[in-house]
């Protein structure tokens, strides 16, 4: 088994409900890469693997929420798989979006009240329970807080979302 096989195994594993892949430290440990240039060597391996699997529609991606490397499928193939977990459930999608907005301001966590305020709803307990069940967030009932799990970083292309929102904002601004 060569390094690429080991990386493939590590990046395709599911650690728990909301984590996939492996951290850089884990990759270095499993591959027994040591020395001054270990990070450069690992990056080179990851780039080589990513280039190798790209024609198959796969990418090596980095989740900025937990700093894990993992394997993702490109947008064309993703669309074939019906990857939208909220298809037919727009209310859940909207609640998650608002949670994401609130959490981005507060380094990953927010008060439930803030989400309710943003959603302009009386209660969101059902939505939040459902999202927690799906693994997107953790509810701290004691402090009335919500914490995002890294799952959203895996399943949602945040760069694409930022770009899309920026374009919508630009359009709105130019119309006004």
């Amino acid at each position: 088994m060569n390094e690429i096989s080991i990386i493939m195994h590590l990046l395709s594993r599911r650690v728990n409900l909301h984590e996939f892949g492996a951290s850089e430290d884990e990759l270095l440990r499993y591959l027994n890469i040591k020395g001054k240039n270990k990070h450069i060597y690992l990056k080179k391996l990851i780039i080589d693997l990513s280039n190798y699997i790209e024609p198959l529609g796969y990418y090596v991606k980095f989740n900025p929420l937990n700093f894990y490397w993992y394997l993702s499928v490109n947008s064309e193939i993703s669309n074939m798989f019906k990857t939208n977990p909220f298809e037919g459930h727009p209310s859940l999608a909207a609640t998650l979006f608002c949670t994401l907005t609130c959490c981005l301001k507060n380094e990953g966590y927010t008060q439930i009240q803030e989400i309710i305020k943003l959603r302009k709803k009386k209660t969101l307990s059902e939505d939040l329970k459902e999202l927690a069940k799906k693994g997107y967030l953790l509810i701290d009932h004691k402090n009335n807080e919500i914490r995002l799990t890294p799952l959203i970083g895996y399943q949602l292309d945040l760069n694409q979302l930022f770009m899309k929102l920026a374009l919508i904002n630009n359009e709105t601004t130019s119309k006004n």
Binding site: M8, H9, L10, L11, S12, R13, R14, F20, I40, Y58, K61, Y70, L71, S72, V73, S75, I77, S78, N79, F81, T83, N84, P85, F86, H89, P90, S91, A93, A94, L96, F97, C98, L100, T101, L104, K105, L118, Y154, Q155, L156, D157, L158, Q160, L161, F162, K164, L165, A166, I168, N169, T172
Partner: protein
């Protein structure tokens, strides 16, 4: 192509750039690093490679520093503002779902090729297996009464000398003539072996040019 050693010159330049970055004179994001790496590549040869390792390391440090600056810049972009501005337009739940729509990605995960499976398989396959080898003893077959090892009635020397006596009258003659009376291949082969031995012990001689076999005394 010339391979001038400009490693010192480049190292000094990188040091100056670093100093300017630290003192805030310049921003790495505005500085092109390609020329440094291009010059490194163009002037590098097997003769000056030892001088270049430190220069290369410093250039890489500079590149890492540039990435760090870029990361900081990206972190400071107002991502949360973009989200809030969108929500200010009071989108419906369906509109929000549509915005998220094309951004969902499938994570590649197959249980069968995960490390857990690899470790599980490894444990299963690496077990020492005790295979008990069954040895079947060969049964001794009863020897039939008709089995006899065939032993020639005469010794080889005797047979050879008989052959010698037999061909004596023909000699001298052509080599082929000695085999004229034999039809069976085994007999021809046997006679040939006798001739070789007779040549060896010097009873007969053979002339390659004339292809004639003679008595030794002739």
């Amino acid at each position: 192509m010339g391979y001038d050693d400009i490693s010192e010159e480049l190292t000094n330049y990188i040091d100056t750039v670093k100093e300017d970055v630290v003192t805030g004179k310049i921003s790495l994001l505005e500085l092109e690093l390609n020329p440094i790496f291009d010059q490194l590549k163009e002037s590098l040869s097997i003769y000056n490679i030892f001088n270049y390792s430190q220069t290369y390391e410093k250039a890489c440090d500079l590149l890492a520093l540039k990435f760090e600056e870029l990361k900081n810049l990206l972190n400071h972009l107002d991502n949360d503002e973009i989200f809030l501005n969108f929500l200010k337009s009071k989108p419906s739940d369906i509109e929000i779902e549509q915005v998220l729509g094309n951004c969902w990605r499938k994570v590649f995960h197959l249980e069968s090729i995960s490390p857990e499976f690899m470790i599980y398989s490894n444990h299963r396959f690496s077990k020492d297996r005790l295979i008990t080898e069954k040895i079947d003893h060969v049964r001794k077959e009863p020897v039939g009464g008709s089995f006899l090892l065939e032993i020639p009635r005469q010794k080889f020397t005797e047979k050879m000398l008989d052959f010698y006596e037999h061909i004596k009258n023909k000699l001298p003659c052509k080599f082929d003539k000695l085999f004229d009376e034999f039809q069976d291949q085994m007999e021809i082969y046997e006679s040939f072996v006798y001739i070789l031995h007779l040549l060896q012990i010097g009873k007969i001689t053979y002339e390659k040019t004339t292809n004639i076999v003679r008595y030794k005394n002739e």
